[in-house]
Symmetry: C2
Subunit: 230 residues, 2 copies
DNA sequence: ACAAAAGTGTTAATCTTACACCCATGG
DNA sequence: CCATGGGTGTAAGATTAACACTTTTGT
């Protein structure tokens, strides 16, 4: 038992993904106020308190640093190599979070979040510490995940036009997809319910039907597993 | 910055899987010598030293506690809820490891490993702490993994009869599979090279060709991703 | 009437599944 | 010669991939 002289600190970090029609899939970053890496961009996070669970710590830190509350959170990976923080040894358990499109908009309004900002996943700034690595793992994860979990819905509003879902996939995959095959496949999963509403057109083109997402079917698929190739 | 009164300790644990023709897929457990959970079975692991990486810590602990060195190691999940250890708060980064069939045999010989033992994944004893949960996540992982990574090879010897690979899948999936379709599919991946050797028959049946595993093709598939449904 | 985006079907090719018989060996 | 496990092919069905024209709206 060699625990007595261990002085490792435990932190959590969260890679938060959001989606907007304009910018596609984006990541939430904060600008550091203090050294080391002062003024660098970084993934939000902080030390775990003695009495709280890891997940509670993530939600608290996100609230404190960005004013955002996520609706999907899963553990991503733990980073603990000596030297990843120049001050002391820190093991950080990184989380992967998704927020609804509506939350995406709210960020600017939050006072806590003066130094928080969304960055498109193809326009990322240099990051503090090993946060580049963490973000890399997170992007890999979200790209893999859309193939076997219908997570897209965690990024969209409750009611959305089909094209938003398609754009989201295009943004993540980084390539065009066949709209016809995509929609047939997605509808075959049965997780989309058609509503009777239509999007008000934004000046151009035919207005699209709005869809709602069928939570029951979604949870069933999550359990059974699915395979969604596009 | 609330790090000053943090007294969380950092540990690693490893769920080690092995394969033998007789017992199928098994997990390596150790019997605890001291309280709490004295004499209970547990996953091998221990505290991380100040200067070593997490992975080094895992390999060291495995060597110390079981005398085994693994040839595949990946991070599994981190467990850090307050109360998972009755003595103090411990965050444990759990790893997922695979050993070759040949190492499987060697365990009994090791002196360090008096209290280490293999248990078939369907014959697990009650476990200390939250190790039941950890093992659950690990078994879920290995079952999922054979569908998209050719990890079976990490469990088999360098040269092996096809039927070993099949038995391994049967043992993990917990159901019979069609030998003809399985072999066609596996060969189509191109990761198997036929050798000119034959297994000496063990008393019954036609001797089987031995296969070797094509590392180059394997690594290519790991990168590209694969989808292996059986 | 035109530009822009939404909606929708068919066909060929591929992949998957189900299924049964012969072969080589040891006893 | 028989019991045991190894080895192999085919046909029907399901899935996927490729592909283009029509509809609705705003201007």
């Amino acid at each position: 038992m060699t625990s007595f002289d261990q002085h490792i600190k435990v932190a959590v970090d969260a890679v938060v993904f959001g989606y907007s029609k304009q910018e596609g899939v984006s990541v939430l970053l904060i600008q550091r106020k203090y050294p080391p890496f002062q003024n660098s961009w970084a993934i939000p996070g902080g030390f775990v308190l003695e009495h709280e669970s890891l997940e509670e710590a993530v939600r608290r830190e996100l609230q404190e640093e960005t004013g955002i509350s996520v609706n999907y959170l899963e553990q991503l990976y733990s980073f603990g190599n000596p030297g990843r923080d120049p001050r002391q040894r820190i093991v950080s358990i990184a989380y992967f979070a998704l927020v609804k499109s509506s939350q995406f908009q709210q960020l600017k309004a939050s006072t806590d979040a003066e130094h928080a900002q969304w960055f498109g996943i193809n326009e990322l700034p240099p990051l503090a510490f090993d946060h580049q690595d963490i973000l890399g793992v997170a992007i890999e994860r979200i790209r893999a995940k859309i193939r076997y979990q219908p997570i897209g819905f965690e990024l969209l509003d409750k009611i959305f036009p089909f094209s938003d879902l398609e754009h989201l996939y295009v943004s993540l995959l980084g390539r065009e997809i066949d709209r016809r095959n995509f929609s047939r496949k997605m509808l075959a999963l049965g997780i989309l319910d058609e509503t009777k509403e239509y999007a008000k057109s934004e000046g151009k083109g035919r207005p699209s039907k709005l869809f709602r997402f069928n939570e029951q079917r979604y949870q069933q698929l999550e359990k059974e597993g699915m395979n969604f190739e596009v």
